[in-house]
Symmetry: C2
Subunit: 451 residues, 2 copies
């Protein structure tokens, strides 16, 4: 790396902050990470986070930091979706023919590991150090016990805001003129629950599957942990007939699980207990621009672009930010102004694309899974993809198993939707959905749209 050593501050010791620290140490910089919370390695997990699915973009960034193998050891490959539908036997959808997998990791376990690795690489961590203010033009952080108390000032050459969806660093940038910002919540919240291991420590469900219980406006998912447990998430509307608001007593909860998720009944007792105990959290899409201030400040990860979790890409997108930043550091050397300009310009359209794709997946899951026309469309697409490998790669694969820009997955996905809209208007489609005529029409439209 052709860069002069700089004194760099990072706000946030989460996954993105820790990985960025490792990269910056690799480039020869002095790195101090601030976090208002105590060292996660010294505290019990709060358990309040959706389990993570590491996929291609995440692994690539870890590989670049030389820590891929370390992380593989704490991850479990999921080769397929396990679909738990009502009134149908459990069935499996492999992610791909070639053993493609996403990897289940506990956020807490991963975060501890990443901080260990960042510390071993020479990063200084200042835990329990609350950042209250940032002076943007001078790259100074101000910390202290309370917002109204006395503060210490910390001066850096550059500061990275890796402090998540409700970033303090971004908050300071947001008060400036000409800073675009939006936060948009969806009407669905989530609650994290646990399926405990069998008494012998084994998993109660297939451990190499991503388990999904889709129920239209709500769903339940489960991802395996190393200790034989599953971290589960219930996504449910906040208000309405079937909603968090409507589940007030343990009896409500028990009736809800018995009715809608009979296959998780063996764990009903601890599910109901966790349900009462664990918080209900909201889901938000956050967009902003610019992401940087001069050559002084840059936002990375959720601080710049928080997405709803329905594509499993939040962490992967944050890690990919770091891959992009590092590659620009290699290109521009000491010209941090150029690095930051190129970083935000290149990365913003991809962040917007994954936000859109994630939101669409939410809409698809909640409103379309019961729509016969939608299901027929998916059947046609799958059939065509099998007949013409490579010609019809679904957005899911482009996002999850490639490192092509997110915006490309969105564009091609839009094109596929336009094609399918025409196909779905063909007469008598239900009877001849797998006919040569349909396939040929799709080939024809692909050529047209390709031009």
């Amino acid at each position: 790396m052709n860069q002069s050593p700089k004194n760099i501050g990072i706000v946030g010791s989460g996954l993105v902050g820790a990985l960025l620290a490792i990269y910056l140490r690799k480039a020869g910089h002095r790195v101090t990470v601030f976090d208002r919370r105590p060292d996660i390695r010294t505290v019990e997990f709060t358990g309040r986070s959706i389990n993570l699915a590491m996929s291609n973009r995440g692994w690539k960034a870890l590989r670049g930091a030389g820590i891929e193998e370390e992380v593989r050891r704490i991850a479990i490959p999921l080769y397929q979706r396990a679909m738990h539908l009502v009134g149908k036997p459990l069935y499996y959808q492999p992610y791909g023919k070639d053993g493609e997998a996403i990897w289940s990791i506990s956020r807490g376990v991963l975060n501890r590991k990443m901080i260990d690795l960042a510390e071993a690489a020479g990063t200084t961590f200042r835990f329990g150090e609350k950042v209250w203010d940032v002076d943007l033009p001078t790259a100074q952080l101000f910390t202290g016990e309370t917002e109204k108390g006395t503060w210490d000032a910390w001066k850096f050459d550059h500061i990275f805001g890796c402090d998540g969806a409700f970033s303090r660093v971004r908050h300071k940038m947001q008060r400036r003129s000409r800073f675009d910002y939006s936060q948009e919540f969806i009407d669905v919240g989530y609650k994290e629950l646990t399926i405990r291991p069998n008494p012998d420590g084994t998993h109660k469900l297939d451990k190499n599957s991503f388990h999904i219980w889709p129920r239209g406006s709500f769903m339940f998912i489960a991802m395996p942990n190393l200790d034989g447990s599953f971290t589960c998430t219930l996504f449910l509307p906040f208000e309405g007939e079937v909603s968090f608001e409507a589940l007030n007593t343990r009896e409500d909860t028990r009736a809800f699980f018995s009715r809608h998720f009979p296959t998780v009944m063996p764990d009903i007792d601890n599910l109901c207990e966790d349900f009462a105990k664990n918080p209900t959290s909201a889901l938000v899409t956050i967009k902003c621009y610019p992401w940087t201030y001069w050559d002084k400040i840059a936002l990375v990860g959720d601080a710049a672009h928080a997405v709803v979790p329905f594509f499993g890409q939040g962490m992967n997108a944050g890690f990919e930010d770091i891959s992009v930043l590092y590659s620009l550091m290699e290109t521009y050397g000491d010209d941090w102004e150029a690095i930051f300009r190129a970083y935000e310009a290149q990365r913003k359209p991809d962040a917007d694309a994954i936000a859109e794709l994630s939101y669409r997946n939410f809409v698809e899951m909640s409103t379309k899974t019961a729509d016969p026309s939608f299901l027929l469309q998916k059947r046609i697409e799958k059939h065509f993809a099998e007949q013409h490998p490579g010609l019809w790669i679904p957005a899911y694969s482009r996002v999850t198993f490639s490192d092509r820009p997110y915006r490309e997955a969105l564009e091609i996905g839009d094109q596929q939707e336009a094609i399918m809209k025409e196909i779905m208007q063909m007469p008598d489609l239900e009877a001849r959905w797998d006919s040569l005529e349909v396939s040929n029409r799709m080939l024809e439209l692909l050529r047209e749209y390709g031009e």
Copy 2:
């Protein structure tokens, strides 16, 4: 008014805060208005604000407060647009056949008057009192000299945030979960300038016209003041070939005005002087939701919905919020929870609609005024409207000269656009734009869309 007297705090002594105070006094409440700035009646105007165009919705709200006539005395009716095009003689577009007018008012003069009137109605004003924090559930304001110093607490039954686009009250609500928020800046900024009166105190341009110098990506407007001057606004991109960024010296400015606005040349010297002295400001659309917190807090005016000024509706929309609120107070009496729920539910779609209409007007002015197809479309619409009075009321009239909901103007505007999209595809349109065939097709489409 069938309400028990309450102790009500208002943050912001601008136009909306002052008018709301008058309405709340009328309903029998105790009202205290806080403003971090000094009393505007005691200070020189900063001159940094787009001159106001009071139209129907504004007048209606003033009438409801019994202060319409007072305000008419400081307003100048504008019956027409005066269009200053390059290479064409000045021409006038009347707003309507029936003497319809918008009214030019200086924001500063109006604000002073409104505070006088609110004070006369028994409102307590606390100027120079800086609100730093709001406790939402207890309706308490915290004020003090500095953010980090000691604060005084002020407890109310209800608090209204009338503190504008960068509202502190909203800012506090924004940090809560499930609060949707967006701020989006446009690439065009503005600078306020002045055309001075003639030596004899008369206006240099027709004083009953809204003067516009449209130039595609930028424009200059002028509105008359009582003292013979015009308050002018230059809207210009921040960056680019013709932009604020490109006008660095007095010579640049002089050349810019000479070239693009030759008719204002007599005032070139003071324009250039003001240009150097006055700030360049940004333009933002702000949306949020919810607008209220329990029965405790409500946002009114720009604090809830700031729009770009290209429809002249910012103040009018804020005043209309108050008309709506007051009418709901009459309906629901002491049930403030019901008042606030109905207020935000009813008003939010209208605020979104005027935001969209205002933004579209900006796009129209900056990109379409030179497009021959757009101009042909406008010609056809005007021709049709003259032939069929009442059948084709343009969005501008619906917004400016009626009190029907903004959302209706947007919906009908969308319908008109869809109709014109079909019309514009008729062959050979340039030659027969005023033919019976075109008119009949429009009638036909109106019937179709009306169904």
